[in-house]
Assembly symmetry: C2
Homo-oligomer: 371 residues x 2
DNA sequence: TTGTATGCGTTATCAA
DNA sequence: TTGATAACGCATACAA
């Protein structure tokens, strides 16, 4: 099955055009059937004489033979490729997930076909079509509310191609999913600020349409309740639904300005995600408020740039790379189950978020201003 | 492996498994040859009766027919996919290029197969192998010094598959390339600082192995010479060669600390690239030096996060997305030339960098400290 | 204006 | 232990 991973040696082949199995067959003096068996190390290879194997392998190497994936597929029904759809490669949130997916796929010698929807529904549909034509063996979708659709469920699962979503869940049990435990994340974020002594806290909630927004806010509320912390409605705003990758940043900026205009003092700000936090920091800085000296800011996601920004951002980490890997594992299991005619049920994985403390938060006792 | 030896079952229109051209043929009452001609709108379609066309198209739609890309390839030799290799998707420098490539490819209904080398040579080679097996019609490589090799040239161009590199050039004329005009960029950067009145300027040069380092420095030197600006060797450092994506940031940090230790005053710092600049800013801030009030910093690349950081970064912009698009255009031209048996010579595109002024630079007259 | 036949490169099923 | 042969789904030359 798996092609031997020998490091390619120097090739003296003058082969300019494609060399096929037949070429190897004639060169080695055996039939193409035998060549196929040997080169794929098929079960029947057990019965092939070692000398024969060697001659065939030598000939293959000498000619620089490479199996033709297309022809192979036509017989075996396996394209050894899987479709990876996502909403926007420009979004720093996406890349770690993609890295996780790619890495896991590489281990299994699968090739990823990437489809960037640019946050456009028609583009998503078009790509889905293209991926189906290429007969990808499975589909992984890094989704947001825009890309979720009955389409996916209907067309994909009807064709029995395994699918998994990341950062989104679908109704029904045909499509697997991987998500972070948002409620726990929300709790961790507020807990951190609370333990630092912050009591007057501003909140920028996520947009309504986003599946993460609700649970995160719920986690926040629950924790507040458990420690009898009052959430001042005047200090709560909510991002509006938008498709733009930068909308988080701009939203954070704008809503922080709004909060400041209300003249209600707060010593900490809990942002929906990292980009929102960056926007907030920008607004605070512009207003002459120093982070973290005068106001702590916490984000969510732990996007790569959070470690690099000044100040570096305290945040709730989603194990994005791991999540990508998990999704691959799920569809792979499903593919293998199908191959072996075993049953397989989709599952919903929930991964654990983690508090990452950096420079943007600080104990409230050190902050001067108050009411 | 499902044995299809059973007597042909009637296929419902709610086709759950793959529907082939034959299915459309029988459903519409025509031969598969005619179906092929109609559905592909082949030249011969001119002679097909409109009524026939309609019946075939209707049948195809009703059955949910989708051409099988693999089978099609086996005939036409066209996989409608192209391989996109790059060194690290985690590098913010990569994503805009990938976006540009993907976008251009999408226009031509080509599918990209992404191969992330993780800055590892063996991984690059393994992926190259996989892409060749998948018979990609062309190759685009976003390269750094690690990934450049005779291998690429030898194996790829021997098989006559069009290739283009971005951010790197290969000897010989088999592989096209797209690069920014680094010398001009270097000049623009220094010119900006000079016009702001800065005279005592620190430099962090790029690593030796990187192809961009030389020309950028040359541009800097030339401009300095032209305005009789002295470059103080004590204020010049150079990044070391490294494979890590974060090395720029860490290098910027470390070398800025070194510069500060020398107690030589400078009012501006010219960094090799944006990440280096971020590292430098971090070091300056830590040392209590404010950017841009006490020290201006300029980067190179205009990575997405440069607009978001605090302070936002003045930098020399590479039109990364455009460059990705250009590379696609080049290989597409080459593919088409091959199809039409025309001649085609590789080319070397040079794109123009652009100064983007943001918050990290400021006129020197406003800076207090001097000598 | 449409149908028949053939082959693309592989692999699986026989038979030898 | 190995070799014919057929078939995967499609597109084309040629025939009708």
């Amino acid at each position: 099955m798996v092609p031997t991973g020998d490091p390619p040696l120097k090739r003296e082949s003058s082969a300019s055009s494609t060399v096929t199995m037949r070429d190897v067959a004639t060169a080695s003096g055996f039939s193409s059937a035998t060549v196929s068996i040997v080169l794929n190390n098929a079960p029947l290879a057990r019965y092939i004489a070692p000398a024969t194997k060697k001659r065939i392998e030598d000939a293959a190497k000498k000619l620089g033979y490479r199996p033709n994936a297309m022809a192979r597929f036509l017989r075996s029904k396996r394209s050894h490729s899987i479709g990876v759809m996502f909403f926007d490669i420009t979004d720093p949130y996406c890349t770690p997930i993609l890295r996780g997916i790619e890495n896991a796929l590489y281990q299994s010698s699968y090739v990823p076909i990437f489809a960037d929807a640019h946050n456009q529904k028609n583009r998503f549909e078009r790509y889905l079509e293209m991926l189906l034509e290429h007969h990808v063996e499975a589909l992984i979708v890094v989704a947001n509310w825009l890309l979720v659709d009955i389409h996916l469920l209907a067309d994909v699962s009807k064709r029995n191609i395994p699918a998994a979503t990341i950062c989104w869940e679908l109704d029904g049990d045909t499509v697997s999913s991987v998500m972070v435990d948002n409620e726990m994340g929300g709790r961790l974020a507020l807990e951190h600020l609370y333990q630092l002594g912050h009591r007057k806290i501003a909140y920028i909630r996520g947009p309504k349409m986003l599946i993460d927004s609700g649970p995160r806010w719920k986690g926040i509320q629950k924790f507040a309740q458990s420690v009898k912390l009052e959430i001042d409605p005047a200090l709560v705003t909510q991002l509006t639904d938008s498709f733009d990758a930068n909308s988080g940043f701009e939203g954070g900026y704008r809503f922080t300005e709004e909060l400041l205009q209300k003249k209600k003092r707060f010593t900490a700000l809990l942002a929906f995600d990292d980009l929102t936090a960056f926007g907030a920091i920008r607004a605070l800085t512009k207003a002459g408020i120093k982070v973290p000296e005068q106001c702590s800011v916490i984000g969510f996601d732990d996007v790569p740039l959070s470690a690099l920004s000044a100040p570096s951002l305290t945040t709730i980490r989603q194990p994005l790379e791991t999540m990508g890997g998990l999704a691959v594992q799920m569809v792979m299991d499903s593919i293998n189950a199908g191959l072996e005619k075993r049953d397989w049920t989709s599952s919903r994985q929930r991964v654990t978020p983690e508090l990452v403390i950096r420079d943007s938060t600080r104990a409230a006792s050190q902050t001067a201003a108050d009411d």
